[in-house]
Each structure stands twice: as structure tokens, then as C-alpha cells.
């Protein structure tokens, strides 16, 4: 049970959030132009990193906002949170 700092509400318990998988996977603007393999890559293929991972989280039992989290999956340490559409902080 870790603590996540929602970029809109501040520090909250993990139980208020739901996880949304890997971040920065952009839905293709022109899906019909893609081959089956390319579409399947977008649809199904996700990294499952032991270590630092970029993730989407939703403050489901709070402001309902989606945002990005950089988390180390091996120890749950959260390195950064940032809003949707923002670039990950570079450090």
C-alpha cells in the first residue's frame, strides 16, 4: 500500500487509485492505415518491467483524473507524477 501524490489533490492512499497500465501508448490517429501486426502491437503489447516503469493511474475514488506515474516496480518507489499530456520530468 503505497502513497501516490495526485497532481490535483495531493498525497493520498493507494486505495483511492486504480492502475491503468503502461503510459505513453498513444492511440493511432489513423487505425485503418495500420497492418494487423501494427494494430495488435498497440492493442495488446505492453512492457512489464522490473524496475522503473511509466504508468497511468486514475484517482478513481477522488477527482477521477488520469495522470502519469513513474514507479519502480521492484520496490514501489515513485519517482515522479505528472499530468496527462505533459512530458515526463527529465532527471
Amino acid at each position: 500500500m503505497f502513497i501516490i501524490t495526485c497532481p490535483f489533490c495531493g498525497e493520498r492512499d493507494q486505495s483511492e487509485f486504480s492502475a491503468g497500465g503502461e503510459a505513453h501508448i498513444v492511440r493511432p490517429k489513423q487505425p485503418t492505415e495500420l497492418s494487423d501486426d501494427e494494430w495488435a502491437d498497440f492493442l495488446f503489447m505492453r512492457k512489464n518491467i522490473k524496475g522503473v516503469q511509466f504508468e497511468r493511474w486514475n484517482h478513481a475514488h477522488g477527482c477521477r483524473k488520469w495522470f502519469n506515474v513513474i514507479r519502480d516496480t521492484s520496490n514501489d518507489k515513485i519517482h515522479a507524477v505528472y499530468k496527462m499530456g505533459e512530458k515526463p520530468p527529465s532527471d
Binding site: 487505425p31 494494430w39 492493442l43
Partner: protein
């Protein structure tokens, strides 16, 4: 009368408060403050239970949570009964009833004891190896027999009548453990302005120092027990320190999130605890954590080291010094270190006969000198090779050890005794530290695992950090806490401490014997009966990893989770394999540290509080009209309304006929409703639904199908355009929350440029759905000002209206195929709306119908229910709903996936209708569908998804998904059941009014 073993006065017991309790049906007495173990020992009772596998007699070994043997059933046979309670932790109360476990007919004479004599043929892995064949005997013979002999205590068979609670706690500093180091840490923390919580699992603070009365130990010229007692008095007055007794830490998760169980009533009599909380689970979030969880004394591993009367030395000291109970009249202490000499001196001072056997050659400490000077006989460089006595130890045999410690030499010496106190050194309790993700290091000098790197803001202090002597504990606790809490000065900076002990011990994991290992029983895990022999057998059979050896031999898998056994298992593996112990690693320490009751885990979330129950505003009316309810998600929905002892089938048949012949009314308030506003609302709907929305006129309704990005049907419902930029979407009852979060997800992450705002309004409106040929006549009565002809108010359109001055939204939409209206009104007027409808419909015999009739009516029309006729693997094409997929739209959620090679396969499962050859035969939902029963293996073509007897068609109808179903229309298929095979024919899935004439009837 039996002998009284209470030999001295002690300040820890209330001698004015004598308590009677029953053990195995016999009445005994103890005092307030006694544990069940200390009270039994004071009555001379050592034999507590029988061991798990060999049914060997076992007695009390320890005085704490590490107890492997003395686990009992508490509270008779009623609903208060509880198995596997540690007698060493259970405080006695007036009327306590306890009994032995795992023995029949009694602990004194146990039939299962036969296992002890056949033990050579039941080694580790016996069950795995033996019960493999013949296979068919597993179910009929092996499993029932193993199950009968498995387990220890008896589970209660009635619901737990007691109250439990959960509570949250936030603090700056949490100190775990109320021994001397925990008390010092809590004091330093509170003095430095931190809101501090100190938790301890005992009923009073002080750990083992509080009964340290030996004047060779001094803190500032006071004996430790006196000095510590003053410290305890002192911290009790600190305002920012909360002390929680009888509270044991169960789990330590990441980010300093900890769970602790506070015991509020287990020490009270049943009368005192009625209607009061029994246990409370604390969910603690601490900024900093200080672990002062102490250490557990190690046993020594030698032949027959498990007899009642064999106890840990420090526990024997606690029983005499704290409880005033002597564990025997003739004691032998068997040790590899100095600490057991404290026990010897304590016993000697109370005039109790004691002899020491030490595997070391010598020790030059003051403590040992004092023991010698007191006239205590010490056998240096000797080891115990055997013990005698069945229900209680009677004598031991010792032999001299060879210089390298691997052999015994010379002749045996027999020592008569009724208690053997053993001490193999100390094991720091690093359980909580590792639960939190901490990594351990190994200290070779005394063979202990110690905290190394922590994952969160925490430190370990005292003996759980490897400081076992008083001077080290105080000095290091003080300096580490100062550093951790950034404190400049403390009360403990300049204490003078004298500690007369030598720190060296001599560690031999498996002591040598004159007999070969195969002829001895050196127990490691006393509860699960695994011996050094079993560990070596596992290694001979090829098990190398400690995790595998543990599971194969079950070492460390009892209710005590190997608190005493695990280090020895590791030690013997490392000795046998010739590898360094530090490189072996440990087994994983998992929560809870000590077992929790289910009651504590669930707290108040029982019965009606188990989950949220959602009721519609009309619920009370349904209840008053004898509705049966079904659970749909968290909702209670009216299922059917039986009249005059009708069966469900009869009620549903009547309701279904009435709805089609005159008028029916359904409470549809549970349907999900999402209010959609914004200038891009139409574009948004275009993207989330498969069909086109741009051209939907204001005041019109449209059915929409929503897919997942993988092309599978996700949800469906009717959306109404209320205004230019204002829609209200309905979703399935169960899907409402998921649909909203999915739509929010797309809006926020993929299409932030769209001006769209979503609000859940499911609970804001109540909905009455009136259907049937007379629905229009009823609406006319309710809303006399509205025109209900097909031109003004056609099917799939909406009107604002007023009922008794209250605004309503009326949608003319139909899920039954009948001419039908849905009236939405603010929730608080829901019941009134419903009653108005019933009143207006009286003359048309308006019939309330429930979800079952709704399902039947829509099945007659072949309308799907997402989640019943679909299961996340059905595309709209599979459902034969190609008509709802817009060919013009460039994109919508899931569109691309409809053109993947797999979704375009022609032989996917399709939704079809099924008609039974015998029209009275009703198929079972979920039944498998096949074509050829003789072909092996039988090919499963699909399954029945919905099945009813239609009163309007007077025959059985069913929906099913069948492989290649579109091409099978008219074909005969089979539905094999347990006792017969049902012949069916594939049909169209619209069974009733296929031209939709009734919508405008």
C-alpha cells in the same frame, strides 16, 4: 492435592485475584496476570498436546508468540470456540475453558501415538510418495483419511458472535516492541516532539529486562528491573506518546503502512466482554518506524529434545522471576552461551536444584564465576545425547564432546531431572523488517541474520538488530535513535551500565551423538515434527533450495511459521552442503507475524455490511408487494412478484402475458445514466458508439452499441438528445461505473481537445417503464396535456412533461417490443411516480413485472443482454448486428479490430436462436451444444446463453452462441444433458413480432 509450583511472590501477579479455569475438563486456579501456560505450570501441568505427525506428547516450551507446542482449543464447543491458541499468550480469566488438540481419546492416552513407533516408515515426503497409486483410491480412501487426521484444533461451526473493528492511525513515529530498547526509543521520540505510538503484544511493558533482578547487572547503580520500571512510569506521562498494550504487529508493508491487531477482550470473562469489541485492526501509516521486536532464544538440536519439560532457558527464567513459577524441582540447563546462566542463578537463588551442561570449554565471565561460586555443578564441553520420560522428562544422558565438536567420547553420564532448560543463543526477529522489503546480512560470529538495507524510513534497534547484551542495547539504541530522529541530547547519553557476560557462544547446529542420525529424533520443527534427519533426507533426494526443503519437509510451516525451526534448518543445510550459511538466504517472511482471526481481518464488513446494497427509490413499494429480489451488481432489483403462492415460473408466465396483452410496469431506475454536455458531445458519441450520431435530431433517441478497442461488445443502451449540446446516455445496470470510467479515460487521455463533460446521474433519476398495448392510454391519463399520436410522439423520441407539477422526461423506447414509455423523474419523487402509474393503470390491469419477465420478453424479441448473451469475445458481427456498424465513419472505438484476421473469420461463434423439438422442453442456460455425440473427443460448438418458456408463443425459446451459427439455420443440433440428450433446431433469434408491428400498436 497436587503440588503447588508457585514458589515465590511476584509483583506482576495480583495475588488477591484468584481465578479458576478449566483445562481438559479439570478445574485449576491461577492469578490475575497469569497466562494459561504459567497457570498450568504452577499446577505442575506440562503435557499440553500431541505433535502433528507422530502424536508425541509435547509440553510448554516458551513464554511467547514463538510457542510451537502449547497450542490449545479455547472456549468449549460453542460459537466462541477458537483453535490453535497459544497457551503462552492467552491470559486466564474466570471461567476460561481450554483443551488439548490433536489427540484422541485424551492427551494422556492418544491412539495416534502409534505413529511415533512407525515413524521410520513415514519420513518426509511420505504422503507425496505413498498416495500416488492406485489413482482411483485417492478420492475414495486416501484423501478422506488424510483430511480426517489433518489439522490441529477444531474450527467453530457457528457464526462468530463477537464484534471486530478497523481503525486508522497516523503518527510521526511508530515504535514496535515494548522491551527496554522500545521504551527508550519511544521516550527519545516523544521528547523530541514527535507524535509517537508504542505498541507491545504483552499486557505490560518491559520485555525481559523488567524481571532482570540480578545485582550483577546495573544501570546507573540500579538493578535493571528497578531502573526500567521508573522509565516506564516516566513515559506514561508523556503527552505525545500513545501506548498500546496487547497489540501485535501483523504486517509491515511498503511506505510504512502497517497492520496491528489490538486485543481488547480475550483476557476478559465472557460476561465482561458481551457486546464489546473483541479485537481491533489498526491500519497504521507512520512517517518513521522503529523496530524493537527483540530476539527469540534458539533451542538446541539433539536426540529426543521434544519431551514435555524441555523448555527454553530464558522462558524458564521468566516463569520463575515474572510469574513466580518453577518449571521443575530438579533442573538441568543445557547451553552454548552465557545467557542461560542467568536462569541458573535465578533458580539457584530461589533454592531450586540446578545443574549446567555447557558445550563450550569454558567461559570467564563474572556471571559464570557467580554460578560456580553458588555451587552450581557445570559440565563443560558436554552435550546431551538422549532424554528419557514419556509424558514428562525424567532424566538425560550426557557425553563429553571431541575437541572439534563433531563427535562424542567417553562414557555416558545419567542426570535425573524434571526440567531441561535449553539455550542455543539468540535469533533476532527480523520478520517485520524483511516484510517491509528490507534486505538482510549475515553475521558469522554468532550466526545471525541482521537488518541491512531498509526500503522505507525505519531503523531496527536492540536485540532484533543483533545487540543482545544490556550495555550494547542501551548505548546503541540511544545513538541510533538520536541519529534517526535528529535528536541532540537524550536522557540516556551518560548512563553507566554493567553487564557481566561474555558475548562469545559456540554454535553447533546439530549436536553430535553416539548413535547414527537414523536412530535418533533431533527435532527442529516441534509443531510439524520435522527432524534433522528429514532435512538431510530432502538434501539426499536432491532438494537444494531452502524454499524447497521447507516445503518438502514442512519445516517452518506450522502456525508458528518456524520461529524456532528455520535457523536450524538453514544451519543444518549449510553444514551438510558445506556452503556458507549467509549465502543460502532465508525463506520468505510473510504476514501475518502471528495468526489473525478472520473476524479481525473482516472487521465490520459482515452481514449486511459485507458490501454496499443499492436500492431504488421504489424499493419499499416492491417489498410491500411481496417482490422477490435479485442482486444485479450492488443493486437489489425486483425479480418477480408472486401472487397467492405462485412459483417463480407461474409468476413470470403471468407477468409476461399481461405485459403483452394489456400493460406491464418495470422499475428501470437501476439502468446507468450518464449526462453528457459540451459542444463536442455529438462527435464524442460518434467515436464511442459503432453507429452514427451527428444527425440525431433534438428530442430523438437512438440505440447504441459500444465496443472495446479489441472489437468486442462492451455495453449497450439508448441515448437521447435533450438539447443541441446535451445528451443523456443509458448503460446496462452492471456496466454503469465501468462505462463512465472508460469514457473519462478516452476523454482525458486520447481526446483532451473535445469539449465534453460527463456526469453520472444514475442515482438522480427514478425510472418507471410502462409497456403493452394500453401503455399509451395510461400515459394519456397521467399526462393529459401531452399528445401521444405517432406523429407528435413517435417511437424513439422524447418529451419533457410535468406530473403534478414535477418535471419528467418521457422516452418512447422499448426493450420488450411493445409500445412502451420510460418516465424519468427526480429520485425523491420516484415512489410517487410509480404509485401514480399503478393507480392510472388499474383499469387496464397494469401488472408490475420484474427482471425475469423483462429478460423473457426481450428474449422473445431477440434483444441481447450484454454480459449474458455476450462474454467479451463477441463482436457485433458475431451477434448478427452488422446493421449497427456505420460504414461511413472513419473511426470509432474498436473499429480497426473488426478487420483483424481473427475477427473476420467466418467460423466464429454467432448468436442464433434455438428451438427444442419438444416445445415443452426448456434448455438449461450454459448447456453445451454439439453436433455429433459419437465423435471422440466431442466437439463443443457453443452454449445456450438465454432460455425461457414463452407464454406468448406457447413454446420454449433459447438464444445461443454456436460456431458458424449463421450458416446453420434450420440444422438439427444436440444439447447433451446429464440424463438425456435434447434435440434442437437452429432458428432465427427473433421469435416474436419480427416485423416490429407492436411498437406502434
Amino acid at each position: 492435592m497436587s503440588e503447588n509450583f508457585r514458589s515465590s511472590e511476584t509483583k506482576f501477579l495480583d495475588k488477591t485475584n484468584r481465578i479458576s479455569f478449566k483445562y481438559n475438563g479439570k478445574k485449576y486456579y491461577g492469578y490475575k496476570g497469569d497466562t494459561l501456560a504459567s497457570a498450568l505450570l504452577s499446577n505442575g501441568v506440562h503435557l499440553i498436546g500431541r505433535s502433528f505427525k507422530y502424536h508425541r506428547p509435547r509440553g510448554i516450551m516458551t513464554c511467547g508468540s514463538e510457542e510451537p507446542n502449547a497450542i490449545v482449543q479455547i472456549g468449549g464447543s460453542g460459537s466462541f470456540t477458537e483453535p490453535n491458541v497459544r497457551a503462552t499468550e492467552q491470559e486466564i480469566y474466570e471461567g476460561l475453558e481450554a483443551s488439548s488438540q490433536n489427540c484422541w481419546p485424551s492427551v494422556e492416552f492418544d491412539v495416534g501415538g502409534i505413529n511415533n513407533f512407525i515413524s521410520p516408515v513415514i519420513p518426509a515426503g511420505f504422503y507425496y510418495k505413498t498416495f500416488m497409486w492406485p489413482k482411483k483410491l485417492w478420492y475414495s480412501l486416501y484423501e478422506p483419511a488424510i483430511r480426517m487426521s489433518a489439522g490441529l484444533g477444531k474450527s467453530p461451526t457457528q457464526p462468530d458472535p463477537e464484534l471486530y473493528d478497523h481503525n486508522h492511525l497516523h503518527c510521526d513515529v511508530l515504535v514496535v516492541g515494548g522491551g527496554i530498547s522500545g521504551i527508550l526509543a519511544a521516550s527519545i521520540s516523544a521528547d523530541n516532539g514527535n507524535n509517537t505510538v508504542l505498541i507491545d503484544d504483552k499486557n505490560s511493558l518491559g520485555g525481559s529486562t523488567i524481571f532482570q533482578d540480578d545485582e550483577n547487572f546495573k544501570i546507573d547503580d540500579e538493578i535493571p528491573s528497578v531502573w526500567l520500571n521508573n522509565q516506564i512510569k516516566n513515559i506514561k506521562n508523556k503527552k505525545n506518546l500513545i501506548i498500546k498494550h496487547r497489540t501485535s504487529l501483523a504486517a509491515y508493508h511498503s511506505y510504512n503502512y502497517l497492520l496491528a491487531r489490538e486485543n481488547l477482550a480475550d483476557h476478559k470473562s465472557l460476561d465482561e466482554r458481551s457486546n464489546k469489541l473483541r479485537q481491533r485492526l489498526w491500519k497504521i501509516r507512520a512517517k518513521k518506524v522503529i523496530l524493537a521486536t527483540g530476539a527469540i532464544e534458539r533451542p538446541l538440536i539433539f536426540n529426543n529434545n521434544d519431551r514435555p519439560g524441555v523448555m527454553l532457558a530464558n522462558s524458564v527464567k521468566k516463569y520463575i522471576d515474572y510469574f513466580g513459577v518453577r518449571c521443575g524441582n530438579k533442573n538441568v540447563i543445557f547451553t552454548n552461551n552465557d545467557s542461560a546462566y542467568e536462569t541458573a542463578i535465578s533458580l539457584n537463588k530461589k533454592g531450586i536444584n540446578v545443574t549446567i551442561v555447557d558445550i563450550r570449554n569454558n567461559s570467564s565471565s563474572i556471571l559464570v564465576k557467580n554460578a560456580k561460586n553458588a555451587g552450581i555443578k557445570i559440565y563443560w564441553n558436554h552435550t546431551v545425547v538422549d532424554t528419557k520420560g514419556y509424558r514428562r522428562i525424567k532424566s538425560i544422558q550426557i557425553m563429553k564432546m571431541s575437541d572439534d565438536g563433531t563427535n562424542v567420547i567417553g562414557s555416558k553420564i545419567n542426570l535425573v531431572c524434571d526440567n531441561l532448560s535449553i539455550s542455543g543463543g539468540w535469533t533476532p526477529m527480523v520478520h517485520l523488517f524483511t516484510q517491509s522489503g528490507g534486505k538482510l546480512k549475515f553475521r558469522d560470529s554468532d550466526q545471525v541474520f541482521l537488518p541491512n538495507t531498509a526500503m522505507s524510513d525505519q531503523i531496527s534497534i536492540g536485540s532484533c538488530n543483533g545487540d543482545f547484551e544490556l550495555d550494547d542495547v542501551i548505548k546503541n539504541t540511544n545513538s541510533e535513535c538520536k541519529n534517526f530522529l535528529s535528536a541532540s541530547v537524550t536522557d540516556y547519553d551518560s548512563l553507566t551500565i554493567s553487564c557481566p557476560k561474555q558475548k562469545e557462544s559456540k554454535n553447533i547446529w546439530l549436536l553430535p551423538n553416539d548413535k547414527p542420525l537414523g536412530k535418533t529424533k533431533p527435532f527442529l520443527d516441534f509443531q510439524n515434527d520435522s527432524t534433522a534427519k528429514d532435512i538431510k533426507l530432502a538434501m539426499r533426494e536432491g532438494f537444494k533450495s531452502i524454499e524447497h526443503v521447507k516445503r518438502y519437509t514442512t519445516t517452518g510451516m506450522g502456525t508458528d511459521q518456524g520461529k524456532l525451526a528455520n535457523m536450524h534448518a538453514l544451519g543444518i543445510i549449510s553444514e551438510t552442503a558445506g556452503v556458507k550459511m549467509g549465502s543460502l538466504g532465508t525463506t520468505t517472511f510473510r504476514p501475518p507475524y502471528t495468526p489473525l482471526t478472520f473476524g479481525t481481518i473482516v472487521g465490520r464488513n459482515v452481514g449486511t455490511f459485507f458490501d454496499i446494497i443499492r436500492k431504488t427509490p421504489i424499493h419499499e413499494w416492491h417489498e410491500n408487494h411481496k417482490a422477490k429480489f435479485e442482486n444485479v451488481g450492488q443493486w437489489k432489483r425486483a425479480w418477480y412478484y408472486p401472487k397467492n403462492n405462485e412459483s417463480m415460473h407461474q409468476a413470470v408466465q403471468r407477468e409476461s402475458k399481461a405485459a403483452r396483452e394489456s400493460a406491464g410496469i418495470l422499475d428501470a431506475s437501476t439502468l446507468g445514466k450518464i449526462d453528457i454536455k459540451g459542444t463536442d458531445a455529438s462527435e464524442f458519441l460518434n467515436r464511442v458508439y459503432t453507429n452514427a450520431w451527428s444527425k440525431l435530431a433534438i428530442g430523438k433517441c437512438r440505440y447504441g452499441l459500444m465496443l472495446n478497442e479489441d472489437g468486442m461488445v462492451y455495453d449497450d443502451g439508448v441515448t437521447t438528445r435533450l438539447e443541441e449540446n446535451h445528451y443523456v446516455m443509458t448503460t446496462t445496470t452492471g456496466g454503469a461505473a465501468n462505462v463512465l470510467s472508460k469514457l473519462e479515460d478516452y476523454l482525458q487521455t486520447e481526446w483532451p481537445e473535445l469539449d465534453v463533460w460527463l456526469t453520472s446521474v444514475t442515482d438522480h433519476y427514478a425510472t418507471a417503464s410502462i409497456c403493452g398495448p394500453n401503455s399509451k392510454n395510461i400515459l394519456k391519463k397521467l399526462f393529459p396535456k401531452l399528445e401521444f399520436n405517432d406523429e407528435n410522439f413517435p417511437h424513439m423520441s422524447f418529451k419533457n412533461a410535468e406530473l403534478n407539477g414535477i418535471n419528467c422526461r418521457i422516452m418512447r423506447i422499448s426493450f420488450t417490443g411493445e409500445h412502451s414509455y420510460e418516465i424519468n423523474i427526480e429520485s425523491k419523487y420516484g415512489k410517487s411516480l410509480w404509485e401514480n402509474c399503478i393507480e392510472a393503470g388499474k383499469e387496464f390491469n397494469i401488472t408490475p413485472y420484474g427482471t425475469e419477465t423483462m429478460h423473457l420478453l426481450r428474449a422473445e424479441k431477440g434483444f441481447i443482454i450484454v454480459g449474458q448473451d455476450t462474454d467479451g469475445t463477441m463482436t457485433p458481427i458475431d451477434l448478427q448486428m452488422e446493421w449497427i456498424i456505420s460504414k461511413k465513419k472513419y473511426d470509432f472505438i474498436g473499429k480497426r479490430s473488426l478487420y483483424r484476421s481473427d475477427t473476420m473469420r467466418e467460423d466464429r461463434k454467432h448468436l442464433v436462436g434455438l428451438l427444442t423439438d419438444n416445445p415443452r422442453e426448456i434448455l438449461e442456460e450454459g448447456a453445451q451444444i454439439v453436433q455429433d455425440e459419437k465423435k471422440q473427443p466431442i466437439e463443443m460448438l457453443g452454449h445456450v446463453t438465454s432460455s425461457y418458456f414463452s407464454p406468448n408463443l406457447n413454446k420454449s425459446i433459447a438464444l445461443a452462441v454456436v460456431k458458424n451459427g449463421k450458416k446453420l439455420k434450420g440444422q438439427k443440433l444436440l444439447v447433451p444433458m446429464k440424463d438425456k440428450t435434447i434435440n434442437v433446431t437452429v432458428s432465427d433469434f427473433v421469435f416474436f413480432d419480427s416485423k416490429n408491428e407492436r411498437l406502434n400498436a
